[in-house]
């Protein structure tokens, strides 16, 4: 009888504690979601009916995976083209992108778009809107919303164009940035007297880390073959390659900090609340995270690198030996498009 009573208590106490915890949990979503939903609704309110129809897709529509780094018209984007919006509508669209991202992340997006404008102006590219030649420049970025902006139900903001694909899935308080593709060409340009390098920190921090490794560590990290492009670029959703390189557990504490700091260049594009949670996850998974490197170890040389862990894949790949043309990708093999939170 005494045993039965003890067993009953052992069962009842944790169940009651769990029930109390659930009852006291906040119902309203926390984090950035409320302001992102507000910004999305403000953007939708700025549109006419036809535009609202053009920008809206079902959450599960093929549009979700229909993104690319390619310029139009080689890749036909759907949604609304920034160049087709009235100034207040365009401002509302960019406010939505800004609300979903961090300040640094939004600046990175703007720098990539400015770079494309430079490409259009300086390198003979042209913009002709729909049906014209190859389309470069700030006007050639598209926005689409998949699902209805909601503080509880899943929905997705898709923003992209040449060298940029941002996918932010919102599921309650969870905001997910994977998969996303920030890239740059030119990788260095001058605007208003300032030198801009949209992916400069991604480059410099990685070279600093590879040079902070000792010879034995470098031997493990540096692959003995050339990598000329992203391995898991657009179209490679749901693929996970066998990891290679050096395990972060073989790095010193300061080297591990440097590795996390590099990863933050991608993770931190998303709003601070969601990025902090993601960084905590990456830190917890650090012992199972790899760094692989291919190419020069002297900053200014050509190098590819990959950070791969249980919940992250980041690739940085100069294109065709051109330091002025960089592609990168950020994925989470367990949570692309918020799969972990949506159960899809």
């Amino acid at each position: 009888m005494k045993i039965l009573r003890t067993l009953s208590l052992a069962l009842i106490i944790p169940v009651a504690a769990l029930a109390m915890q659930r009852a006291s949990a906040p119902v309203a979503p926390v984090g950035a979601t409320p302001r992102v939903v507000t910004a999305a609704n403000a953007f939708l309110a700025s549109l006419d009916d036809a535009q609202r129809a053009a920008v809206s897709f079902a959450f599960n529509s093929p549009q979700r995976t229909g993104w690319s780094n390619l310029p139009g018209p080689m890749f036909q984007r759907k949604g609304l083209r920034l160049g087709d919006l009235m100034p207040p509508q365009r401002a509302a669209a960019m406010s939505l992108v800004s609300a979903a991202l961090s300040r640094e992340g939004y600046q990175k997006v703007l720098a990539i778009m400015d770079g494309d404008e430079v490409l259009k102006t300086n390198r003979g590219g042209r913009t002709g809107g729909r049906g014209g030649g190859v389309q470069f420049g700030r006007d050639e970025y598209y926005i689409a919303l998949l699902g209805t902006p909601s503080a509880t139900a899943p929905w997705l903001i898709q923003f992209g164009g040449h060298h940029l694909a941002i996918n932010v899935t919102v599921v309650g308080s969870n905001n997910v940035l994977t998969p996303s593709l920030p890239a740059a060409q030119p990788a260095r340009y001058t605007l208003n007297g300032q030198t801009i390098r949209p992916l400069g920190d991604e480059n410099d921090k990685a070279f600093a880390l590879i040079n902070a490794l000792d010879a034995a560590q470098q031997k493990q990290a540096i692959l003995n073959y050339r990598i000329s492009d992203l391995v898991l670029g657009p179209g490679a959703d749901g693929k996970t390659i066998q990891p290679e390189g050096i395990l972060a557990s073989a790095l010193t504490a300061s080297q591990q900090t440097m590795l996390l700091d590099i990863a933050h260049e991608w993770v931190g594009i998303l709003n601070d609340e969601a990025a902090d949670a993601k960084m905590a996850e990456l830190k917890a998974n650090l012992p199972k995270t790899y760094l692989a490197w291919s190419g020069d170890t002297k900053n200014g040389g050509l190098a590819y690198y990959r950070i791969q862990g249980p919940t992250v894949v980041i690739e940085y790949a100069p294109q065709q030996g051109d330091l002025d043309h960089i592609h990168t990708i950020y994925r989470d093999p367990t949570n692309d498009y918020g799969a972990k939170h949506t159960g899809r």
């Binding site: 390619l70 030649g133 996970t240 066998q242 043309h325």
Partner: protein, 215 residues
């Protein structure tokens, strides 16, 4: 090259001159990216081929045999077969027969700009039992102008563990060392057999003691 090819080349080159920005995309390289899926009974190959803008016409002409500017089913099949025939695949030194599963070709305009990707999917039966195995993959297609990527996918079957990938510097080929662990049922069966055997030994000993006690 046929007259139709020459006309098409002129049209495409003119279009490229008008539309393509210098240095914007892959130019004189043919990127051949292969992902290898290892499972117990099969090897899957995902081969993505992207021709740079300045060699795209040459590649397109290889595929578009009748020179009409379109890739029909027969031409697509024929080119895919040529690629597959140039693949050498073996497990434990036994050559495998690779079969095309699907193929998708981009349109001429996308390919002409060095942006379109030919996607081939192929597989080969490979009955690898438990233990260590070595898969060897080599791609010899269009070697003169190609750059390569080759990677093993993380196996979805957790009984398969990849222990090493050794590539040549250009990634034309790779040797994938992997191990197939016994299935759970086999392991469980093994434990059950061991348990029964041990029980038998114990009972026999006890039987001996009892017999001794009765005597």
């Amino acid at each position: 090259m046929s007259t139709r090819h020459l006309v098409w080349s002129g049209v495409v080159m003119g279009w490229l001159w008008a539309a393509a920005p210098a240095g914007a995309h892959r130019l004189d390289e043919y990127l051949q990216a292969t992902r290898i899926g290892v499972s117990q009974g099969r090897i899957d190959l995902e081969i993505d081929l992207t021709a740079g803008a300045s060699i795209a016409e040459q590649i397109f002409a290889m595929v578009d045999a009748n020179g009409d500017g379109q890739i029909n089913d027969a031409e697509g099949d024929e080119y895919a077969r040529r690629v597959i025939d140039a693949i050498r695949l073996s497990v434990d030194s036994r050559p495998l027969s690779v079969t095309l599963v699907s193929r998708a070709f981009p349109d001429r305009q996308a390919m002409g700009l060095g942006l379109g990707t030919i996607r081939l999917r192929a597989s080969a039966p490979a009955s690898a039992g438990t233990g260590r195995h070595a898969l060897v993959y080599l791609n010899t297609h269009a070697a003169a102008s190609s750059v390569y990527l080759v990677n093993a996918l993380l196996p979805s079957d957790n009984r398969i563990q990849i222990s090493a990938q050794e590539r040549d510097v250009e990634q034309r080929g790779v040797t994938v060392d992997y191990r197939v662990a016994p299935s759970e049922g086999w392991v469980r069966g093994g434990w059950l057999l061991t348990a029964v055997a041990m029980l038998g030994v114990v009972l026999r000993r006890r039987g001996g003691h009892l017999q001794a006690a009765w005597q």
